[in-house]
């Protein structure tokens, strides 16, 4: 799979060899602890280490071998390049990997396709509608929505699952030590990894916040990521609640402002405004030496789409009784479709691979290497 040695991998290998002879960064994060368990760095190792890196940035400023030193060590940026390459390598179907190089084009194509699908449906049904109301299903019928998003959802889940499988089969191959140790270690590792993911433990190296520039440690990146992550989770919960309302109770939307779906969706939507907007501002001002340009642009595209989703969603909530509702609904749904379709081909996958890498790290950690 990722056995092709790219320039970034060659640089990462050189850097890991230097880091492994120095080891002053070992207390910063799992990347260096996992590195110390290795003597050589194959592409699979580098892919694993790259996806373990949270890009907190501490190690760049601490490094005496960072540019202008001739060793030219910039671990955060090099690993961010290797990371994006791994996203491309594991993408399914493989030809879609092009989207990682042209994130805006991919989004635009998906958005236009979504719009072209939804707009005619909306026009056809609106022609039959008798009166203005806040009923979204009068614009796009429930069945159409369920079918469209069901198919897209299924595809997205499949693509991500295959990508994850490829990644796990390559960088995170089942650790033979873990398998014969039984399930106790695996459960322990899973629990710790889940906590690492949900708390973003390693976005604040050794109890402090990650850096945006030399000696500039701030908590915002972690908190804004929490807003984004949990905002997204709340929106998902809102949709699920609405589906239960509809299917189980037969309650038909629109729901009251005080209903569970609207409360969850509003809270989540606000999180998805604050989080992505804040992260966009932070990333624009963050030291460019910390991240490869390809990962930066993936981040910008993803954050913009999340922001557009939440802003149009909240607008829709406010304006749902007004004359612009149908147009707004089509735009919102087309944005959501574009967001969903590009999940497997954009920044979204960082969460999947990071989670898998953290799981591997915790399992390695809880099964001490007995051979050395």
């Amino acid at each position: 799979m990722a056995d092709v040695l790219t320039d970034a991998m060659r640089k990462a290998e050189h850097e890991m060899v230097v880091c492994n002879a120095c080891r002053y960064c070992e207390a910063y994060c799992p990347v260096f602890q996992a590195m110390e368990e290795r003597v050589t760095f194959q592409p699979a190792d580098l892919t694993y280490l790259a996806n373990l890196c949270h890009n907190c940035g501490e190690c760049l400023y601490a490094c005496q071998y960072a540019p202008p030193h001739e060793f030219n060590i910039d671990v955060p940026r090099t690993l961010s390049r290797v990371r994006v390459e791994s996203y491309e390598t594991f993408a399914w179907p493989s030809f879609a990997a092009i989207a990682f190089r042209r994130p805006w084009d991919a989004i635009l194509v998906a958005f236009v396709a979504g719009g072209l699908t939804l707009a005619p449906v909306a026009r056809a049904f609106m022609a039959r509608a008798t009166s203005q109301s806040a009923d979204f299903y009068a614009v796009i019928p429930h069945d159409v929505m369920v079918t469209l998003f069901g198919v897209v959802g299924l595809f997205v889940v499949t693509a991500i699952a295959i990508g994850h499988r490829r990644f796990a089969g390559n960088a995170c191959d089942e650790d033979p030590r873990a398998s014969h140790k039984g399930s106790r270690y695996r459960r322990l590792g899973s629990r710790q990894a889940a906590r690492d993911v949900l708390t973003l433990k390693h976005l604040h190296a050794t109890g402090e916040d990650c850096v945006d520039a030399e000696e500039q440690r701030r908590p915002w990146r972690r908190w804004l990521h929490h807003c984004t992550f949990y905002g997204f989770a709340l929106c998902f919960a809102s949709t699920t609640a609405a589906a239960i309302y509809h299917v189980v109770f037969g309650w038909i939307a629109p729901y009251a402002y005080t209903s569970v779906p609207v409360v969850l969706g509003t809270a989540g939507g606000l999180g998805l405004v604050v989080g992505p907007a804040g992260l966009l501002v932070l990333d624009l001002h963050r030291d460019a030496a910390l991240t490869d340009a390809s990962e930066r642009s993936l981040g910008f595209a993803f954050l913009t789409m999340l922001l557009l989703t939440s802003v149009t969603g909240l607008l829709l909530l406010v304006l749902r009784g007004g004359p612009y509702m149908p147009a707004l609904l089509v735009v919102h749904l087309a944005i959501v479709l574009a967001l969903f379709v590009t999940f497997p081909y954009g920044k979204f996958v960082h969460g999947i691979y990071r989670g898998a890498a953290l799981l591997k790290f915790r399992r390695e950690e809880s099964t001490p290497n007995e051979t050395t």
Binding site: Y24, C25, E26, A27, V39, Y61, A62, Q64, H69, E215
Partner: protein, 413 residues
């Protein structure tokens, strides 16, 4: 020192043990009053440094198994300096980068001004007091050549190229009392392929005790297994410096691979001794004979690189007293070695308030901290981390005393 485990240190490192270590390595070349002051002040150092944003690694892990006696900076020396500079900037301290002190105006034992050379020209800075913290002269190749002759050309400087000793020489010329062995430096054997300056920690090599070391003629010259490597690596700098062309080669066979810390430069690999000799440019006949003699002299024993084992040679000059195993399993790996200079010992004498001692008496407003005065405590030898401790403790003292002196002078006009 510390009397009980802390968040960054295990167990205890009592004052007397620290003092005994210092007396042992310096052979008595230490000012015991200053040394004891430094040891006592070191007890609470991590906490005091924390206030300036300096962070330490947790005590469990760490290089060289020094968790009891040494606290390690999180991120290393550059992270330490970043924190210190950031703290200074928060206090509105003006920092002039790319500036050389090229002259000191000292009249009647009093500092009056310093002359700075910057990319924008020269500038004279007057001040009520001055703290000299300009290091030793280990990156001044001409000065090193005055002591070591042409051999100095083959030295590698492990640290910054800016330790030129300019300020040290200015002070000695102005009548400061010298301290520390002027002809010695701390040097370790490092990979010869390291950059001339600033190669730092990664250029070290830990393979020496696991094999043999030969010079450019293919001859062994010292007991590679005398003691644990962390206790011996500091003498190998001088050993290699005394060899022709200041070059040596550490040679191990495949049995040793994986038993020492990975090194930054790849090994020179060969499947036979002759092939290895030709790659290294060492006479093949001599090298083969050296290894043959060595292999024949190896006595049977139980190899254990974690202890001072009973694997040794007999009848060789010099013998290898531990970890001696036949070099008989290709591929053979070799690493070239050169002396890597860490620091120099020569400095200026100071009193308990870090004031510089001039030949005519104490300088009232000249203070010194760091390597420029470390020779007061470390006249020769080395204890891990002692340079950092001296620098920090005397940095505090010099800063405090210089501030108080300046305030007093301002009050009295």
């Amino acid at each position: 020192m510390h009397t009980a485990p802390t968040d960054v240190l295990t167990d205890a490192y009592p004052e007397d043990e620290f003092m005994a270590d210092l007396l042992r390595v310096t052979g008595g070349a230490t000012d015991q009053t200053l040394a004891r002051m430094m040891i006592r002040a070191s007890a609470d150092l991590p906490r005091r440094m924390n206030r300036f944003g300096v962070r330490f690694q947790p005590s469990i892990r760490g290089t060289l198994h020094l968790g009891r006696t040494n606290a390690f900076f999180l991120g290393g020396g550059k992270a330490l300096m970043n924190s210190a500079y950031a703290a200074a900037e928060r206090s509105d301290v003006r920092i002039v980068y790319e500036a050389d002190v090229v002259g000191l105006c000292i009249r009647d034992g009093r500092f009056e001004s310093a002359e700075l050379k910057t990319p924008h020209g020269t500038e004279a800075i007057t001040a009520r007091t001055v703290v000299l913290a300009a290091g030793g002269f280990e990156s001044n190749l001409e000065w090193l050549a005055e002591i070591w002759g042409d051999a100095a050309n083959n030295f590698i400087v492990r640290g910054t190229p800016y330790n030129t000793g300019t300020v040290l020489r200015l002070m000695l010329d102005a009548g400061a009392e010298p301290v520390g062995d002027p002809s010695q430096c701390h040097a370790v054997a490092i990979d010869a392929r390291a950059p001339k300056f600033d190669g730092g920690i990664v250029t070290r090599l830990d393979s020496v005790p696991l094999g043999i070391v030969v010079n450019k003629h293919g001859d062994r010259f010292y007991d590679e297994g005398e003691d644990y490597w962390p206790k011996r690596y500091a003498i190998w700098g001088r050993l290699v410096a005394q060899q022709p062309d200041q070059i040596a080669y550490s040679i191990v066979d495949s049995k040793a691979i994986g038993r020492f810390m990975p090194s930054v430069f790849p090994p020179i690999v060969a499947n036979s001794i002759r092939e290895l000799a030709s790659t290294l440019g060492v006479p093949a006949g001599t090298l083969a004979a050296t290894i043959e003699r060595f292999n024949a002299a190896v006595r049977p024993g139980t190899f254990d690189h974690q202890t001072l084992d009973d694997c040794r040679t007999e009848g060789l000059i010099p013998n290898k007293t531990h970890w001696a195993q036949r070099l008989d399993t290709p591929p053979f790996h070799a690493y070239p070695l050169r002396p890597g200079i860490t620091f120099t010992y020569l400095g200026v004498r100071v009193d308990e308030r870090a004031r510089v001692v001039l030949k005519g008496g104490l300088a009232e407003n000249i203070f010194a901290a760091g390597e420029i005065m470390a020779g007061n405590i470390l006249g020769r030898g080395y204890v891990a981390g002692v340079g950092m401790t001296i620098g920090t403790v005397f940095g505090e003292i010099a800063g405090r005393e210089s501030r108080d002196t300046a305030i007093r002078q301002a009050r009295h006009g």
